[in-house]
C-alpha cells in the first residue's frame, strides 16, 4: 500500500470539456496513469493520477481550471481472478468506507493498483 496524489478537476458536462483537459496534460508533457470521471447532471469531476502531479496542478491553475489535489491510497492487487476480491475483503474487514475508486495498471502489467479515495485518512493509514 502506498499514498499517491490525485488531481480533481471541475468540468461542466458539455461536449469538448475532456479535450480541454487532456490538452493541458499534453502541452505540459504530463503522463496520465489513471483517471476516472464522475458526472452529476450538468457538471462533473474528473480525477487523474499523473506522473508529475505538482506540475499538473500548477498548469491547470494557470489555465484557469478549478482544481484540487489530495492524497489517495493505492493498494496492490494481484492480476489474477480473485485479486480484487481479496482486496475488497480486506477493506471490508477494516471497516473503511471508500468514496471513490478506480484502477491503475502498472507498466510491467504484473499487477494492478486499486486507487481508493478514503476520507478517514488517519484510520486508513493505520489499517492498511
Amino acid at each position: 500500500m502506498k499514498n499517491i496524489k490525485q488531481l480533481s478537476i471541475f468540468a461542466e458536462n458539455k461536449p469538448g470539456k475532456l479535450e480541454h483537459i487532456t490538452k493541458v496534460f499534453e502541452e505540459n508533457k504530463i503522463n496520465i496513469m489513471a483517471f476516472n470521471i464522475a458526472s452529476q447532471g450538468d457538471f462533473g469531476i474528473m480525477r487523474f493520477i499523473a506522473d508529475k502531479p505538482e506540475k499538473a496542478l500548477e498548469a491547470f491553475k494557470k489555465a484557469g481550471f478549478t482544481i484540487s489535489m489530495n492524497e489517495v491510497f493505492a493498494i496492490e492487487m494481484e492480476d489474477k481472478p480473485g485479486g480484487f476480491h481479496n482486496v475488497a475483503q480486506f477493506i471490508a474487514k477494516s471497516g473503511l468506507n471508500i468514496e471513490n475508486a478506480y484502477v491503475l495498471i502498472e507498466k510491467d502489467r504484473q499487477g494492478a493498483l486499486l486507487i481508493c479515495d478514503i476520507k478517514d485518512t488517519e484510520k486508513a493509514k493505520k489499517t492498511l
Binding site: Q6, A11, G64
Partner: protein
C-alpha cells in the same frame, strides 16, 4: 468629513428649498411649453397651462414624459434652445430602439460640471487628487460627466476611458491614482485582473471610487472596498436628465443625496402612476429645474427606489434616494411572481466564496417559467466530492428561494467563463417564447 462643494445649494433650509424649487419649476414649465411643441401639445391634451403651477404639488397636474416620446422626437424634437446655442450632444445607448438625443447649452454644461463637482467632493475628491476616469468617453455621458466635474474641482483627471485593463492597472500604479471612477462591475474586474497581473492593490495610493451607470448592491460595495482597499460610493444619473451627478452618496453611505435644487424628484407607482409618499418604493420621476437645451418635465426614469428626507451627518439637507433596486421595465414576472434580477444578485452575493459574476436565464420549456442561475465554481466552492458540490448547489438554491421567494435552478460553471463586462453588464437572458 469631506468638503461640501456648494454649501449654499446643498444645505438649503426646507423653506428656501421649496421657494427655489417652485420658482424654477414655474419657469421651466413655461419655458418648455413655449419652446418645445411636444410639451405644448402634451399640456393641451392634459388640459393644463403653465400658469396652473401655483405650488409644488401642482406638478402632479402635468403629464409624464417617457422614453418613447423622446424617441419619437428623434433627432432634435426635444430641443428647447436654438441650435446655435447647443454646444454638445449626448445620446442614450439606443440598445432598445432609436437613441434618445439630448442637447446641452453652455449653461447646461456648467450645470453638469457643478453637480459632478458636488458628487466627486462627496467622495472626498479635492484639487490634490488624481482621478482615473474609466467611464467611457463619447456619446455616453459617464466619461465626460466625471471629466467636467473633476476639472471644475481642479483635480488631475486621467481620461483613460473604459477598457484596456492591463493599462488601467499600470497607470493606477505608476501615476499614483487616488480616485477611480467606473462601473462597479468593471471595478471588480480590475481587482480580479490585478490579482492575475500580480499588482498589489494594497500598496497603491487609490483610496476612493465613484461607481455607477449600472445597478449594484451593498454586498458588491463590500467586495469592492475589500478587494481594492478603497471607500466605494454610489453615483446616479441618466442622459435624459443630464448624465451622472443627479445624485451621489456622501461618506455616510446610506442613500444618495439628490441635487434637488436642480432636479425635482417624485416617486410614482409603476402600476398606476399615482404619486407615492416619502419612503414608499416606486419609480423615480425627475423634472429638470434649470435645463436649457432639453428640459425634461416629469421624466419617467423606470428606476425603482424610494426617497427619504432627514438630517444627514454630513451636513447636507438634500433629500436622499435609496440605491436603485430595479428597473420597472426589467421587472421580471416569473410564474406570476414579480422579481428584480438585483434581488437575486443580492441573495447570491450573501453566499461566502461566490464570485460576483452570474447569469440569469429564463426559459419556458413546458408552459411553465423556469429560471436558471449560473455561478462559477470558484476554488472556495470546489470540493473533489460530487456529493459536496451537489450540497453547495442546493444551499445556493435554498438561499435564493428563501430571500426571493422563487424556486430556481443553480448551475455551476467553470471559473472565468461568465462574461465580465467592461461597461454595462448584461446578466439576464429572458429566452421565454411567449406564444
Amino acid at each position: 468629513m469631506s468638503l461640501i462643494w456648494n454649501k449654499k445649494a446643498e444645505c438649503l433650509l426646507p423653506i428656501e428649498k421649496d421657494q427655489l424649487q417652485l420658482e424654477r419649476l414655474q419657469h421651466i414649465v413655461k419655458y418648455a411649453c413655449e419652446k418645445v411643441p411636444y410639451y405644448k401639445k402634451a399640456f393641451d391634451k392634459a388640459g393644463v397651462k403653465p400658469s396652473d403651477i401655483k405650488s409644488l404639488k401642482d406638478i402632479e397636474k402635468l403629464p409624464f414624459t417617457s422614453k418613447a416620446e423622446l424617441r419619437d422626437a428623434y433627432p432634435f424634437g426635444m430641443f428647447a434652445a436654438p441650435m446655435e446655442e447647443i454646444v454638445e450632444i449626448h445620446t442614450s445607448s439606443g440598445t432598445t430602439g432609436k437613441p434618445v438625443v439630448m442637447g446641452y447649452t453652455t449653461a447646461d454644461i456648467e450645470l453638469w460640471s457643478e453637480v459632478m463637482a458636488r458628487s466627486l467632493s462627496m467622495a472626498g475628491c479635492t484639487k490634490a487628487d488624481i482621478v482615473q476616469n474609466a467611464y467611457g468617453y463619447g456619446l455616453f455621458t459617464g466619461g465626460l460627466g466625471v471629466h467636467y466635474g473633476a476639472r471644475k474641482i481642479g483635480a488631475n483627471v486621467i481620461p483613460i476611458s473604459a477598457g484596456n485593463t492591463k493599462r488601467q492597472l499600470e497607470i493606477m500604479r505608476d501615476f499614483g491614482t487616488t480616485i477611480l471612477t467606473c462601473t462597479p462591475s468593471y471595478a471588480l474586474f480590475l481587482a480580479e485582473s490585478a490579482k492575475d497581473d500580480k499588482i498589489d492593490l494594497k500598496s497603491l495610493k487609490l483610496r476612493s471610487g465613484v461607481f455607477g451607470a449600472e445597478m449594484w448592491t451593498e454586498k458588491m460595495r463590500e467586495e469592492i472596498e475589500k478587494r481594492l482597499h478603497i471607500s466605494a460610493t454610489n453615483i446616479y444619473g441618466l442622459t435624459e436628465i443630464i448624465g451622472p451627478g443627479v445624485a451621489q452618496e456622501c461618506e455616510v453611505k446610506n442613500g444618495l443625496h439628490l441635487q434637488e435644487d436642480l432636479f425635482y424628484p417624485e416617486i410614482v407607482s409603476p402600476e398606476n402612476l399615482s404619486v407615492l409618499s416619502e419612503g414608499e418604493k416606486g419609480e423615480l420621476v425627475l423634472t429638470t429645474l434649470t435645463r436649457e437645451g432639453t428640459p425634461m418635465i416629469r421624466f419617467r426614469t423606470k428606476d425603482i427606489t424610494s426617497l427619504h428626507r432627514g438630517e444627514c451627518k454630513c451636513g447636507r439637507t438634500s433629500i436622499k434616494m435609496d440605491r436603485i433596486t430595479g428597473r420597472s421595465d426589467d421587472m421580471l414576472k416569473i410564474r406570476g411572481v414579480i422579481v428584480f434580477p438585483s434581488s437575486i444578485e443580492k441573495a447570491l452575493l450573501e453566499i461566502k466564496g461566490l464570485e460576483p459574476h452570474y447569469k440569469i436565464i429564463i426559459t419556458r420549456p413546458h408552459q411553465l417559467d423556469e429560471i436558471e442561475v449560473q455561478v462559477e465554481a470558484s476554488e472556495i466552492l470546489f470540493s473533489d466530492e460530487i456529493r459536496h458540490m451537489e450540497e453547495t448547489k442546493k444551499n445556493i438554491e435554498n438561499h435564493i428561494e428563501k430571500s426571493v421567494g422563487l424556486k430556481l435552478k443553480v448551475t455551476l460553471v467553470e471559473p472565468k467563463t461568465l462574461p465580465r463586462s467592461e461597461g454595462k453588464a448584461k446578466r439576464v437572458f429572458d429566452q421565454r417564447e411567449l406564444k
